[in-house]
């Protein structure tokens, strides 16, 4: 019974294949859109792909989460229909692409400062100077006045700080070093920003789990991980002082506020870093993630399907963001992106 069923399935599969080859009309009906890139938004993208199947069963997606660098390379070589990246393309990278690439922001994420101080129960507060000093290796002890002045009620130990960073190239590191560059000129000139940098101090852990594992295991250490990862794993994380001087507990609402804080200075191509935004309630260490598509879509049918999907993702798709711990885009931003999407030229 089982075997005959499998045999039947197989024959059906072969027949289907033959049909698909012989009649292009059927092949077009279930269109496969290929994408590749960032790992950070992969959970929400796969949620979108499966939900979008219900909206439009004719479109299927194949997304390879190979990293932002890979995504940029693949879309520049036109081997995929869309790319995805946690870092926007540099001017040089845009010039190297064979056509005009546009950036479509999809969701925002935040990076939190996680730490392990034995016996500490209160949430720590970090000033920008303290964060930069710790990761530059200039602030070496937890009882340093820069940390103590923001935490007057906390009994800080007189112990050496062990900073922990990501050893693998990642969008998380890009956001974090972007933040450090924006608040510290010493960081900007000595280290800079990028998916991997030359860290002046500390240990490296591979992946969010590597950093979190090292911080959990090492007393008096401090590291940075994605907000979603910290939430899911109940890590202790600190408040960070923003541009207005308020200490903000990281969260989805505070991240969306960060996007709002940048709306006024938002460029038309959406290539903007979210760090250190205006806004009293905005969390300062956050960033956008983008899908990259060509302004001129060669394949009219496929191009139209991609645009339709993106319109759905930034409007209806946003409601899935919160349960997966991504910050949804603010309404005003969605309108701007919709306008941009309608400018994509499909067909020849």
């Amino acid at each position: 019974m089982k075997i005959s069923k499998r045999f039947l399935n197989m024959t059906a599969g072969v027949m289907g294949l033959l049909l698909a080859v012989s009649t292009p009309a059927i092949a077009e009906k279930t269109m496969l859109i290929n994408g590749a890139g960032a790992t950070f938004p992969y959970p929400i993208y796969s949620k979108w792909f499966s939900e979008y199947q219900k909206v439009n069963p004719a479109v299927a997606f194949n997304y390879q989460s190979i990293g932002s660098g890979g995504g940029i390379k693949q879309i520049s070589a036109r081997t995929v229909d869309f790319g995805a990246s946690d870092a926007f393309l540099t001017r040089d990278q845009l010039m190297q692409a064979p056509g005009k690439l546009i950036h479509i922001p999809t969701v925002a994420g935040a990076v939190v400062i996680t730490y392990n101080i034995p016996g500490l129960t209160q949430r720590l507060k970090f000033t920008p100077e303290a964060i930069a000093g710790i990761f530059l290796g200039k602030i070496k002890n937890w009882s340093d006045p820069e940390i103590a002045k923001a935490n007057p009620d906390v009994n800080l130990p007189s112990a050496d700080i062990i900073p922990v960073h990501r050893s693998d190239g990642s969008g998380t590191t890009a956001i974090f070093t972007d933040y450090l560059s924006s608040i510290s000129s010493a960081w900007k000139s000595n280290v800079g920003k990028g998916t991997s940098v030359n860290w002046p101090a500390g240990l490296g852990g591979k992946g969010n789990e590597g950093v979190a594992g090292t911080v959990k295991q090492t007393p008096n250490s401090v590291g940075y991980v994605e907000l979603a990862y910290a939430e899911k794993n109940n890590l202790a994380y600190g408040e960070v002082q923003n541009k207005s001087g308020n200490f903000i507990t990281p969260g989805l609402a505070a991240t969306t506020k960060a996007v709002e804080g940048k709306l006024d200075s938002m460029p038309d191509d959406f290539r903007i870093s979210l760090v250190n935004p205006d806004g009293a309630e905005a969390y300062p260490i956050s960033g956008l993630t983008w899908i990259l598509v060509y302004q001129k879509q060669k394949d009219a049918v496929k191009g139209k399907a991609i645009v339709e999907f993106l319109k759905w993702a930034i409007r209806d798709g946003q409601k899935y963001a919160k349960e997966l711990l991504y910050a949804p885009l603010p309404e005003q931003m969605v309108e701007k992106i919709e306008q941009r999407l309608s400018e994509i030229e499909v067909g020849k």
């Binding site: 660098g69 890979g70 050893s167 590597g210």
Partner: protein, 319 residues
Amino acid sequence: MESNQVLLTAKSTRKQGFSDPFFKAMVAVFAWSLVFLAGLLVVILVTSSWSSIKEFGWSFLWTSEWDPVAERYGILPIIYGTLVSSILALVIAVPISFGIAIFLAELGPSWLRSPLGMLIELLAAVPSVIYGLWGIFVLVPVLRTVVEPFLGKYFGFLPLFQGPPYGVGMLAAGIILAIMIIPTISSISREVFLTVPISMKEGAFGLGATRWEMVRLAILPPSRSGLLGAVLLGLGRALGETMAVTMVIGNRHDISLSLFAPSYTMASLIANEFSEATSNLYTSALMETGLILLIITLILNIVARTLVWSVSRTARGGR
């Protein structure tokens, strides 16, 4: 009946005569395809690392800065970390593995030998990410709280055991690698010991040797080249190991004499940074790191082969 048989044999011989060249050609293609693939690998590695070779020249090998932002790359600390972690692994693993092998081949009770041997070989089948996780959650805390403070207290006068006990670092990497290569070295050495003819062991006992003397005089000398081969295979695995090492070594581009200090290896660097390397020079520098790793492995293999060769020659000459 008999003539029939002869005919049959002749027929099959003729058939073989026809199939032999075909078979020979086929296996030759298999053999050469591997050489071709290896050659292709070298060609690809060299061409894709060319822009880095052109940009940095020899300074790639002896500078210590790895700065993807400023696009300056040098891998001296990583070469150091790769070699030292592998050598440390050998220092720990070789005596233990030889001990295991001798026990399993000669000294252990026979009912224990095969289950124990299987258990050790099973260790080789554990995925390296599992070793890495075990390293982070079990080994590293023990090193940080017990082993490293102890070593620092009593052997702190040696530069090897100085500095703060992080737990993660060169020592942790060396120990993890040692555990990973023990199955390889011990199971091959056991096979080597088992090839020693019984007559030689009996001869040693007959001359009044104790067990230890028998092992020392009858088993170890003829096994030397085989044992070196076992160590080499272990070294090969240690040099190329990526996942477990990167999880416990601390991933820092520094050269430090202390085994407590964090370090980095070439395989880990490539695994860590390749997926997010965006610029051409960056990718190229990582490719060149791969090329250098290949060259180092090659050099070590040649050195070791020469050693095996000279050892086996002197052994034969001594006989």
